[in-house]
């Protein structure tokens, strides 16, 4: 939130001056009127249409989750040796989507990338919603979700403890910590905005509700001092956490002995893939939000262009990882590893391998062109292709590696059932329903953070810090 003052700019030639982070006349007051007033008006008709569609989709998915829980997970396509399929693919996919939010809110904050202030709130919200979607899948995969609390180490009548040497238990800790830390980070950022909404509210009940959730925040300098420190510390902690979470998710695979999983490159490869997929999802949602909510002056073309540059960079990293996977397979001189890699590019599921490579590596190369980075059509095309590609990447890693490992007698072709697809669609429905609700109920842009970086927001003289 602390913005570096641009006192040096005055003496610089035009080209070297900092580009303003907003376009058009924006003042702290107009910002509040633009962002906070959204929650005070009735949503437009198109919003109702959209949320009706997404919540129907979510209800459809949850219906099939109910069917699964009632009947048992035999209604999915999972069967020996492919015991992990859509459930774990979707889990890894959604956790990955969440990582972009933390990257934007925490890592870019530490790097003092001030442009992130305008999109941080939305990205953080997406993190929380994505982790919610992700959490569903391991929960229903255990078959008896009402006993999922057995995963936690608590003293019990059975005198049993969980196995702390299992990456699956690490995952329980990583994902639950990630969710609670993201929620805390999000809420702290929201606190001053909630106070603004409290002071704007005219309806008695709304005022009461905002008063309670804003905890009586009144912007005292002594409070801001601790608040800023807490925010900085949280950013530092969340940075370490976000890198650890997808590393731990990758340990689920890397610590096993399945050919195609047992690789040291997995943790960084998974983290890069997560950021890649997450940024694409953020681009898709941001484009819709800035168009429908008229936020072009705050989420500028430059924001989207920078986001697209990150996607391009991550795409190149992914290309390197894929190439490294092939190199490792070849260099290992291991027949099983060779076989797995050949399966990716030519087996029964070879089409999925090539779909992954073309969606994740080839399509984003369009973003080298400035025209594609700034055109809605091309950036949405690339972002959608990355979303599809990253889902299939997890399909490739999980299903291809499992369906043919060491013993040919145990090989089997995996076929998902309609229930698998219904639950996947349902998770998208849940995600977009939550996003739509969020867009109408809470400020989509962190007004406090943007106020702090507006031109003239910070003192240029008179302080003791010159």
């Amino acid at each position: 939130m602390k913005a570096e003052t641009s006192t040096l700019d005055a003496g610089l030639p035009e080209v070297l001056r900092e580009v303003p982070l907003t376009t058009g006349p924006v003042s702290p007051g107009s910002l509040d009127d633009q962002i906070l007033s959204v929650t005070e008006t009735k949503p437009p008709r198109k919003w109702f249409v959209a949320i009706a569609f997404t919540s129907l989709l979510a209800a459809f998915g949850f219906g099939f989750i109910g069917y699964t829980v009632y009947t048992g997970i035999g209604v999915w396509g999972n069967n020996s040796p492919v015991f992990w399929a859509f459930d774990i693919i979707n889990f890894v996919f959604w956790v990955g989507i969440g990582h972009a939010g933390t990257l934007i809110s925490a890592i870019l904050f530490l790097f003092r990338m001030r442009w992130r202030n305008a999109i941080a709130r939305f990205a953080e919200a997406m993190t929380i919603f994505a982790v919610m979607c992700a959490g569903i899948f391991p929960l229903i995969h255990v078959g008896r979700p009402w006993l999922a609390f057995w995963l936690f180490p608590y003293p019990n009548q059975r005198a049993l403890w969980p196995n702390f040497r299992s990456p699956l238990l690490w995952d329980v800790f990583a994902v639950s910590t990630y969710f609670s830390v993201s929620a805390m980070f999000w809420y702290l950022g929201l606190l001053p905005d909630l106070a603004s909404m409290r002071d704007r509210a005219t309806n008695k009940w709304k005022k009461l509700a905002y008063s309670i959730v804003s905890l009586g925040w009144h912007g005292a300098a002594r409070h801001w001092q601790h608040y800023e420190k807490a925010y900085l510390l949280l950013a530092g902690l969340a940075t370490g956490l976000v890198l650890s979470v997808h590393s731990v998710v990758s340990f689920d695979f890397a610590t096993s002995v399945v050919p195609g999983w047992h690789m040291t490159i997995f943790p960084p490869y998974f983290v890069a893939g997560a950021i890649f997929a997450g940024f694409s999802m953020v681009v898709i949602v941001l484009v819709v939000v800035r168009e429908s909510m008229d936020l072009k002056n705050l989420i500028t073309d430059r924001h989207l262009e920078v986001m697209n540059k990150v996607i391009l960079g991550m795409s190149c990293l992914m290309g390197y990882s894929y190439a490294m996977e092939g190199f490792t397979a070849w260099y290992s001189q291991n027949a099983y590893l060779h076989h797995t890699f050949l399966n990716i590019i030519g087996g029964t599921y070879g089409w999925a391998g090539w779909l992954t490579i073309s969606c994740n590596i080839l399509a984003p190369q369009l973003l080298w062109l400035r025209k594609c980075r700034t055109s809605y059509f091309w950036m949405i095309l690339v972002a959608c292709s990355v979303t599809v590609g990253m889902w299939f990447e997890r399909f490739v890693i999980i299903v291809i590696s499992l369906h043919q490992d060491y013993l040919p007698s145990a090989w089997r072709i995996y076929k998902p059932t309609l229930v698998d697809f219904a639950i996947l669609l349902g998770s998208f429905g849940l995600f977009f329903t939550l996003v739509l609700l969020f867009a109408r109920v809470l400020p989509v842009i962190a007004t406090t953070e943007v106020k702090a970086i507006l031109p003239g927001a910070q003192p240029t003289h008179g302080g003791h810090h010159e």
Partner: protein, 373 residues
Amino acid sequence: MSDFAVLGLFDSADALLAAIPKVKASKLGRLEAYTPYPVHGLDEALELRRSPLGGMVLGMGILGALTALAFQYWISAIDYPIVTGGKAPWSWEAFVPIMFEVMVAFATFTAGLGMLFLLNKLPFFGHPVLGTKAMRGITRDRFALAIEADPGLDAEAARTALLAAGAGEIEVLPAPPGGPFLTSDFVLRTLGGIFVACTVAGIGMYWAIKLVPQVIPVSHMLDQPRLNAQQGSAFFKDGQAMRMPVPGTVARGYLPVAAATQEAAAALVNPLPTTPEVLALGKRAFTNRCAVCHGPLANGQGSLGAAYGGKPANLQAPQFLAYPDGKLYWTIVNGKNAMPSQAADLSTDERWAVVHYVRALQRAQNAKDEDLP
């Protein structure tokens, strides 16, 4: 009621920062600024102490990591030492991921909740500034500087000082109505609330524990396709769930005696050696099954003999001293006269041990000088 503070409003962070040294010079009371966003240089201008949050978070983070390590070590190496993946109980490398996550969780909650609850003393809905007209501007785009002194604020002097420093509007904040915190009414209400909450939670848990296992699909686990003993079944022709063993089935430890009559059994040889363990086994079996009739010394003077008028054999009688082992064994298995069979209660080994023990009793009752050590 005295006034709590005098508030001056400014239009920009620049104006606020410029005013602080001037107002500070008047020495009228404690200075506090209220701003819509954190303003650079305000901490230094107001001479605020550095936030201690960093140290708190560091301490709690280290505590979190150590807690996780100790917890995992105690569980994996002491309380429940199960070898998994060939790892030693103290395989600390495997504990690192959870140590890290717990460290982050401890540190995060310290940073977030410690900041809110401990340092900023929130939630607090009674701060005087919350009720002012200026509050709407403070969370929007105005910057307020307050001179706070309670009691004894010179409101007029404060107003003059703030106006001189360039404040646009002035607002005087009355002190909040104070009262005793712990009234008996408050204590009673709190205790009553706790009682109601505990009762509701207790009744709720009782019914949850009682009913949840009977709810579909939780109850599906109870529904197992199997036949219980003594149950009927339409599957088998005789309509019973239990099956008879195949003819000729022999239970473990109960081999039938390889002799048709007691005379033929005379040829059987006791397969057990005479060791203290075998004699102990024989003594236990004899005491439990035989002594009640035959007496502890096997002389036929058991406690039950008088009660039912029978005449159990006196095994110390001369004809039994010369009795072959096999015939004694046969009698244990098949019974004789009024004596019932003991086959169902004594295993093969126990029967032969009893034979050894009876021989020992006979020798003890008819000891010769040579038997002395």
